[in-house]
């Protein structure tokens, strides 16, 4: 798919303009008339209108409504925006180039207006252009943009439009043009069939990457989004595999007899894998270079050390260890060395994941017979629990660090696992639709 083009100018220029604009907004917040600050307090969703896009030729008519609807769905799903339904609109956008009647949109209290147009091109392509308006200031926010891509990839174009709108209004990058890899589950508890699957962040376009002949666990995207790490029992023993997402080709990374390897994650540069290796009943954390295959041990204790996750700058690793008696979270230098305990609350902590913004660690906490997804500052302060259920587990950050996806399993013999997402604020908890049961979600980078 062709990416953004500034009208009449080059991509680079646009990006430069956007960068300058963002920097300007960041330093002089008051200069931006319409700005939704994402905070951890209560947020009143920002009201916006996104009328059906204008079909600029007959072929475009097939996509005009659904493009706008998906942009609306993305933005409202974030919990930060509220769409004013089209039946309440008193003005219509009839031409992409004619001036906007701001008073008609102000009258229905739309703070932002998204106007778009779609043209069907030769060769199964469509071009979508759009503008974002600050209704009460009576001006456009940034410049109009356009995307050209395959018509059957129209959902991805709509996600990109929504990401730009999200970014223009919040000043932060979006997460709608992203994917999630997960473990699809069928069959009864006790004899579950599991296979790797990947889908758009909103549950659409599910593709299966393995069959269910071998138990698979905990897939993770590479920082570039084109590779996966996961654990499979295809040899009869848990081992770490590296898979190319496009071709679904895989190779085993750790294959020493008499050991188990699991819980892999990429380093932020994508060149190394940090993981757990079990030998003689003891599980420690190791790092492996993907180019040389060379492995190095990072922890050396008789306790269980597992679930390692890099800081986004690559200098530190957070992991769980039961060296104190109960599983707790620790941070150590990425080259190994002494680890500092960061979790001190009542309960058992596991599956720590460093946020892509670098400011927080998400985790699973087990306390008083319940499971929680929580976040804390990287020094362990300001712990907040975002969810509670019989079994919530395995948080994964959205690429912008604002949303967390996780798995929730219901109890009892008919218990089943499914995916949920929640804002880092604890608001906007909701299920993520999957065809069957699902566990171990991992979010891709933006555009991955």
């Amino acid at each position: 798919m062709k990416m953004m083009r500034y009208f009449g100018k080059g991509t680079l220029l646009f990006r430069l303009v956007l960068l300058i604009q963002l920097a300007f907004f960041a330093t002089l917040g008051a200069a931006a008339p319409l700005r939704l600050e994402i905070t951890e307090g209560v947020v009143e969703p920002l009201a916006f209108a996104a009328p059906a896009f204008i079909a600029e030729n007959a072929g475009g008519a097939d996509y005009a409504s659904q493009l706008a609807e998906l942009v609306v769905q993305d933005l409202t799903s974030s919990g930060l925006f509220r769409a004013i339904p089209s039946r309440a609109h008193i003005s219509k956008i009839t031409s992409f180039s004619s001036p906007v009647q701001f008073s008609d949109w102000a009258a229905i209290n739309a703070q932002a207006l998204i106007a778009g147009a779609v043209t069907a091109e030769a060769g199964g392509q469509i071009t979508v252009k759009f503008r974002v308006y600050d209704v009460f200031a009576g001006q456009e926010m940034g410049q109009g943009l356009q995307f050209t891509g395959r018509a059957d990839g129209w959902r991805r174009i709509a996600h990109k439009v929504a990401d730009v709108v999200y970014s223009r209004i919040t000043g932060e990058t979006g997460y709608f043009d992203s994917r999630v890899v997960f473990v699809s589950e069928t069959g009864r508890k006790g004899s579950r069939k599991k296979r790797l699957a990947v889908m758009d962040y909103d549950g659409e376009n599910v593709q299966y990457l393995t069959d269910s002949s071998a138990l698979v666990l905990a897939p993770r995207f590479s920082p570039s989004g084109d590779k996966l790490l996961y654990t499979s029992y295809e040899s009869g023993f848990p081992r770490i595999y590296l898979m190319d997402v496009g071709s679904a080709r895989r190779r085993v990374l750790q294959n020493s007899n008499g050991t188990m390897s699991f819980a892999p994650r990429f380093s932020p540069d994508g060149n190394s894998v940090v993981y757990s290796l079990e030998k003689g009943g003891n599980t420690d954390i190791y790092i492996m270079s993907l180019s040389s295959g060379k492995q190095r041990r990072l922890t050396n204790s008789p306790a269980i050390e597992t679930a390692p996750s890099f800081s986004p700058d690559g200098t530190q690793v957070v992991f769980e260890s039961d060296r104190s008696g109960d599983p707790q979270l620790y941070v150590m230098p990425a080259r190994g060395g002494s680890a500092k305990r960061v979790s001190f609350g009542n309960g058992r902590y596991g599956t720590p994941v460093w946020s892509p913004r670098g400011d927080m660690i998400a985790f699973t906490k087990q306390s008083k017979g319940r499971f929680h997804i929580g976040v804390m500052r990287v020094d362990g302060s300001q712990e907040r629990l975002l969810t509670a259920s019989f079994l919530d587990e395995g948080p994964s950050w959205s690429p912008n660090g604002r949303v967390i996806m996780f798995a929730r399993e219901t109890q009892g013999a008919n218990g089943a696992s499914s995916l949920y997402s929640v804002d880092v604020s604890g608001r906007n908890l909701k299920p993520v639709r999957t065809p069957d049961g699902a566990s171990d979600p991992a979010w891709s980078p933006l555009g991955g």
Binding site: S213, G236, M260, G281, I304, T306, A307, D322, F390, E393
Partner: protein
């Protein structure tokens, strides 16, 4: 007979699976397995005898991997049997209940399988005859979410493979 274990050898790789009334077995391989234990229970050299009369599994306390008194008695019987029946090697599978995260439970199951390995080794079973694996919380045999089920699921199961056959 609620549980069974079967084995076969395929191109030199060991596949073992346990099955029960609640699980369909076939770990990893996706193969289907019969439900009859090998040999007659009355034959003390049979896997059926090992499973039923001696006991193929031990259970653990919550979050523990140390063997219980009852567990040691079972493993004493397993060790004696294995010393008598040198044609068999074993795979010890460690399991955890569903309380706990996936990765931690994999590590915990490995500790449990290793506790059995070390005990059997100490009783004279050659280390070369013992392999271990953990399934963490992936393969419970009892499905309820109460301690009555958890106490059965926190287990290490010894599966036999006849190298001579």
């Amino acid at each position: 007979m609620r549980r069974c274990a079967r084995w076969f050898i395929l191109t030199g790789i060991l596949f073992l699976a346990a099955c029960s009334e609640t699980g369909t077995g076939g770990f990893g391989s996706g193969s289907s397995f019969g439900t009859d234990p090998a040999g007659a229970i009355g034959d003390p050299t049979s896997p059926a005898y090992f499973q039923s009369a001696i006991g193929d599994r031990v259970v653990f306390e919550i979050d523990q991997s140390s063997l219980t008194e009852a567990g040691r008695v079972v493993l004493d019987g397993q060790a004696d049997w294995l010393l008598e029946n040198g044609d068999y090697s074993i795979l010890v599978e460690g399991h955890a209940d569903e309380q706990g995260t996936r990765a931690y439970n994999l590590a915990l199951g490995a500790r449990r399988a290793n506790a059995v390995r070390e005990y059997l080794s100490a009783r004279g079973v050659a280390g070369s005859r013992i392999q271990t694996v953990s399934f963490g919380k992936e393969r419970p045999i009892e499905l309820c979410s109460r301690e009555s089920c958890y106490s059965v699921n926190r287990r290490a199961v010894t599966l036999l493979d006849n190298l001579g056959s």
